[in-house]
Amino acid sequence: MIKPTTMSRRIEKEFRFFLNGKAMTVRAPPCHTLLEILRYELRMTGTKEGCARGDCGECTVLLNGEPVHSCLTVMTQVEGKNVTTIEGIDPEHRLVRSFVEAGAVQCGHCTPGLIISSYALLLKRPRPTEEEVKEAIRGNLCRCTGYSKIVKAVLSAAGV
């Protein structure tokens, strides 16, 4: 008979990082992903889970300004870093406004991840081309919109 592993035997470690500018300490097994911590421990549900294996881009957050899949980012990688989630983006941000106005939001489940990816793009390329936008969001799947209005929203936020 297999001896079941129990909760009490799991190894936990303390992790310190900055979440949307605030210092955070969480206790978690080192193999836990940032997404699990965000959604299941902190109950910050703005960051969505679509696959938990790096295929859909829904869980995209910024790690020191770079977009990463939080479902593939384990807590040891987060130690000491800055994490920005959708909750850390100003609701007045032009990207939010342009997504809303362009009709880029249907079911909206992909939207937070897309806004984070687009935000990272605009940090680097304030005036991207259409191709650059498509490239930057290629890892963010959307099943509802067909992407047209998303690309338009990013371009219009960039004033292109």
Binding site: M1, I2, P4, T5, T6, M7, R10, Y40, R43, T45, G46, T47, K48, E49, G50, C51, A52, R53, G54, D55, C56, E58, T85, I86, E87, I89, P91, V96, F99, V100, E101, A102, G103, V105, Q106, C107, G108, H109, C110, T111, P112, I115, V133, K134, E135, I137, R138, G139, N140, L141, C142, R143, C144, T145, G146, Y147, S148, K149, I150, V151
Partner: protein, 765 residues
Amino acid sequence: MSSMASYVGAPVVRRDAFEKATGTANYASDLFPDGFLWVSVLRSRYPHALIKGIDARRARSHPGVVAVLTHEDVPVNRFGVFAKDRPVLCDDKVRYIGDPVALVAAETREAALEAVKLIDVDYEPLPAVTDPIAALRADSPRVHESGNICRQTSLRFGDVEEAFARADIVVEGTYTTGTQIHAFLETEAGISYLDEKGRIVVVAGGQSPHRDRAEIAHALNVPAEQVRVITPYVGGAFGGKDDVTVQIHLALVTAKTGRPARLVLSREESMISGTKRHPAIIKMRTAASRDGRLLANEVEIIYDTGAYAALGPAVLDVAIENCNGPYRVSSARIDAYLVYTNNMVASAFRGFGAPQVMFAMERQVDRIARRIGIDPIELRMINAIRKGDIYVFGNKMEGSVGIYECLKVAMDHPIWRDRRKDGTLEYPWLRRGVGVAAGMKGYTIGALPDRGSVSVELKRDGSVVVGGSFTEIGQGVVESVAQLAAELLKVPVERVQVLFADTERSPDTSVTSASRQLFLAGNALRKAVVALTERVKDLVELETGGRPTSVTFTEKGVLVNSNEVMPLNELAERLELRGFGRMVIGTYEVPKVEPIAGTLEIPHLFFMFGVTMAEVIVNVLTGTVTVPRVVAVIDAGRVINPINFTGQIEGAVVQGLGYALIEEAKIVGGYLQTKDLSTYLIPSSKDAPTIEVIPVETFEEEGPFGAKGIGEVGILSVAPAIVNAVAEACGVEPTSIPLTPEKLYWLLKEGGLVDRLRGNEGRIG
């Protein structure tokens, strides 16, 4: 938005967009009720096996586990809308690999996931049948006691033999279409709990709260009043949440433990257990005259519904009804089979059985055009049905029929006019082509009863609350309903609150499917406004003794007898004071006709139509197809919200592109090989074409403000348009989708195109 008479047709921004974009909107998967149990599902290991026994002792004693439930815990262990053939938890046998066998409810996620692996199921594997044609043979393994034919019907209209005898041209083909997976971004998800009155509340992603409630109540053997279903924002559905998914399991855990519960399927679990688009085999023989008239169609339709019927019987009807396309085909012979196999369950998916037959028919029509040497759009125009026509089933097309207008617009569009002009491509192994296809599908539920109610409540501050059980699955119905209410009551749209999809608080507006939720809700809303006018008359009559002759809503309030204006807040006060109540309910029943013999819901009264044109570039050496441009011309009735409208069509076009070219669910011996989004690919931003959506605004007299269904029409003719473009570009006749590079490459090779190019290469080199 100041001009009040202009909500219908205005690009009003959706009210849910902002909270969704900022991450504050709650979906079912975002809910964590206090003290909830994590639920995990044990699913079948085999596509087909007897269950000899289930030993859950090890799982039950696992730390953190609160309950392990099996079929013994289910009061009524069969559910399903058309046939109660689906076990809540399998008892005698498992019929596909996603079949649920047991549930674990535990204090932690880890415990729930671990304990599932500790349940010992004694299976006796049975031979599996995974090919629908094999399943039809007498010696096939039986998926159900009753045999493998879930539904079969044969229909004859007109003199097919005579038509074939006098035909100049007969085109024949066998077409196959793949298993498409919905791949909504939010997997099946929900929570459950007991409310203060001891009722079970299920908050889950779904499409039909009242129907889900009935399914839950049936399985738990409790009155429906004991169950409340709430559907919050849903992260995509497309038909994949039309059937029950997690709802009964959640209710069962809460009923057995008294505790709140949470169940969210993993992506893999969603891919395996969720319903699919029916894979199909369609044989067609089509007769035409030399001058391009379609004379007869002989069709055999085989849809693989997998292990259970789900909504398959109705899907088959839609296939039958639309397999002759939007054409004046004068005779038809149709044999249709819905077959059980040990594959994944197939059910509703945007288009509901129509895209498969549309692929077959529109390929046929294109081949006929090539045989005659006529412009494919012209051929379609010669045959296009018109309003008032008697369709092949003998039914009169009474609703708006805009297919001819769509084809006319398509014919004049530059993508078509100039399709042979831009000949120059970068490399000799690239080929360009433009293809066209038409599509049709009935909306509303046809000859089946289809009724829905909407409530309108006047608040004392003069604002309005509209209630209905429609679900917000991304399509924007909430905003559209608000727009209609604003238009009817002449209030600013911001003053309309919409209360949706809660069996306790919103009246039954029937199911959100078949592209007709706005049609149904909009019409019920119109009735509610009529009821409200009557109530105003009652009020005035009581107060003044005279019944007003006219009551109309104006921007200043309700105008009585064209002299007294009563602001809505005042009206609300007075209704309250006089005991009339401030809420009215409007109920609309979709007009319908008797179903024709051998069908469930044929004919529909109302149809949507569209034409898709696609430009493709084919790499002959690799078989890859890219689609730079798509033009969708849609008979949309009156467009209520142009942003929502184009959004629906653009999304459908890209789903159709995936269906045509890349979405390949590989199922081998009943086992799904493509269990994640890196093996089952859906289109990304890099695959999506530039899409131009052109509405042809016909007027649907029965529709609210002339509107008709738009949810599904965009996908209907995408796959055949793309494949017709490939045929045009390369001179081959593909018959199978998805048209993967592998399939196309071999076809091109067979056609000699690859070798011709290879032979050329030396010279180009």
